[in-house]
Amino acid sequence: MIVIGIDIGSVAAKGYLINYDSHHRALIPTGWSPREAGQTIIERLLAASGLASDQVERIYVTGYGRVAFDQADKTVTEIKCHARGIAELYSEVRTIIDIGGQDSKVIRIGEQGRVLDFAMNDKCAAGTGRFLQVMATALGLDVSELGDAEDPGQMQTISSMCTVFAESEIIGSLARGNPKGGIIAGLHQSVGKRVAAMARRMGIKEQVAFTGGVAINPGVKRALEEEIGAKIMVPEVCQYTGALGAALLALENG
């Protein structure tokens, strides 16, 4: 069977096409129109796989843009999709930490990716990719450069959780001549603390997986591991677990 899962996030839209034994992935910036982003993802996946749209049995869509996208057979929340996606990659995982562009969530799962409980950050950018993006800009870096630029040995603690205050705080810290690498490590620690607090409130059960665009950043992984005191697995396809989950649910007609 041929199915597509699409995860339209606030920053990036991801697609996963399953064609019997093979699969294809696509990722593009969401831009201003989640609907168009979803459409482009389908086109990319079809082009990459050489398939025609009428060969696709089902399309499931998830992510914040799911409501705007009107070509899917079903919309599913990213919580369920991440759970399904991770269950496929690591059957032993019981806690998922997902940090995306505008929210962070902790999902407790049972066997076969059944969602047992979940928590999401309240409406605030603290502990999200958006927080890191704002800070990267203040530091004159691209958000993708943060991970390699950190220097935990010279950690500069950021006390403000709030994006607005933290930005002023790092500007002040830079003005005092503190090392950039240490400030960046402090930012990662801040995200780690915030998300770990949410995870602890719900209860962390090993094993733990880390997904979402922010999971690419090894500094945040390091900080999270320190804060929750457990080893964390980051799948190679960490940005695609939602799309993968959507595709698997489409396959299962779930």
Binding site: Y64, V67, V76, T77, E78, I79, K80, D103, R114, V115, L116, D117, F118, M120, D122, K123
Partner: protein, 424 residues
């Protein structure tokens, strides 16, 4: 809405600013309420009240004042309305439920104050709600810290009496509340110029009890499956009961209950038989705050009960009608009001027992425990609520939100994921 501009101008309202509110409300109400399918006929009355929201009931209140009567504005389910009605006054619940008023409140209150308090203060200061301008007196109460301090600001605006609500429920606290009711009686007698007698208080107790019984009937109907009325509609009924004439409110709720009972006999409802049944517990939802109910019900689940001030807390307990002396009636009032379980009290395990009991009575599949943003009391209590619900295997999620639309999509995702969990 009929033309009430002259009445509003006489009240000293900011008409231009008020027009903005009058423009958006019908659209919001249409999109949230009128689009619902198979609504009970009995909702027509409540739709009419909303359509005339700042006109028809304010006009009645002002007519009452013209005839020499007094109007008391209240903000809490611990304020005994019976006292006001026994003295020939009108009591009206005033809490503000719209984002429209929040910025007015923020002019004088800290940003980290709950939206209900901000909106209530803003509605008064901005002069954009007739209900807030009509009362001869506000009856305030010592409950949460936010309200307690807001009254000190409101006191510069309007004559205000504060009822000191106990924070615990020992015998001496109930006795203290009894003394507060006596003080309140003296204040109301002075403002109205009418003496409260055992006869008039007895009648008022019966009248308010009848309203409670009528609401109980409406809520009992929600225990049925399929549920004969949406959570949104039931919430609206309760919200309007806070300021409508109590005798008429009872009659309208009874009419509605008749219809709902008929629907149960016919096996008809507004959601399919297998719809997920949700309880919403926590802080009150003052009119026109329909946000969470709308999110839940748009996703195909039914809200079947609210454990809140705009829900079971408002009418579950009745005042004992057997007392024939003022002394006995006041004691009965104190006992009844101290049965209400709010997070302002400590310990408050009885509220958690209520939630467990209601979950069983209304056969709920999951609980959304919610509090208005910055409500420290309910937010803190949510920890214990979750703990006990988990022990009882009752799925629960906690949501903190305000009146704004900005977290709408995020909340939708959270609620949808919760429903996905329950539908397994």
């Amino acid at each position: 809405m009929a033309d009430y501009r002259e009445m509003w101008a006489n009240l000293g309202m900011d008409l231009e600013h008020h027009d903005v509110l009058c423009e958006v409300l019908p659209e919001a109400f249409g999109g949230i309420y009128l689009i619902q399918q198979d609504r009970p006929k009995g909702m027509d009355f409540y739709d009419f009240v909303v359509a005339e929201i700042h006109g028809v009931r304010p006009a009645e209140m002002m007519q009452h004042q013209k005839e020499g009567g007094k109007v008391f504005g209240t903000f809490c389910v611990y304020v005994p309305d019976e006292v006001v009605f026994a003295a020939g006054g009108i009591a009206a619940g005033l809490c503000g439920g719209s984002q429209f008023w929040v910025s007015g409140g923020e002019k004088v209150l800290p940003a980290n104050t709950c939206p209900l308090i901000k909106a209530s203060v803003g509605a008064r200061l901005d002069k954009t709600c007739p209900f807030f301008l009509i009362p001869d007196m506000y009856v305030a109460e010592n409950t949460c810290d936010g309200k307690k301090k807001a009254w000190e600001i409101m006191a510069g605006e309007v004559p205000l009496h504060i009822i000191d609500i106990p924070q615990m429920k020992r015998d001496r606290d109930i006795a203290a509340f009894e003394a507060e009711i006596k003080d309140f009686i003296a204040v109301v007698e002075k403002v109205t110029g009418n003496k409260i007698t055992a006869e008039s208080l007895g009648e008022a107790i019966k009248m308010i009890n009848n309203k409670r019984r009528a609401l109980q009937r409406v809520y009992n109907a929600r225990k049925a499956s399929p549920v004969p009325i949406s959570g949104k509609d039931a919430l609206l009924v309760t919200q309007i009961n806070f300021y409508d004439d109590p005798a008429r409110a009872a009659q309208m709720a009874n009419n509605l209950a008749d219809e709902l009972e008929q629907r149960i006999n016919n096996g008809t409802g507004v959601f399919p038989n297998n719809a997920v049944r949700i309880m919403i517990s926590g802080t009150p939802m003052a009119i026109p705050n329909w946000k969470l109910h709308h999110i839940v019900e748009s996703l195909g689940a039914a809200v079947v009960v609210e454990e809140s001030c705009t829900g079971t807390r408002y009418f579950e307990n009745l005042v004992d009608e057997s007392a024939t002396t003022l002394e006995g009636q006041i004691r009965a009032l104190a006992e009844r009001y101290m049965k209400t379980n709010c997070a302002c009290f400590t310990p408050n395990s009885a509220r958690i027992d209520d939630i467990v009991r209601l979950a069983d009575e209304y056969k709920v599949d999951g609980i959304i425990d919610t509090n208005l943003q910055f409500c420290n009391l309910y937010s803190t209590e949510s920890y214990l609520v979750k703990q006990v619900m988990t022990e009882h295997n009752l799925p629960i999620m906690h949501i903190e939100t305000d009146y704004s639309e900005q977290d709408f999509e995020q909340l939708r995702t959270r609620v949808e994921a919760f429903l996905e969990m329950l539908r397994k």
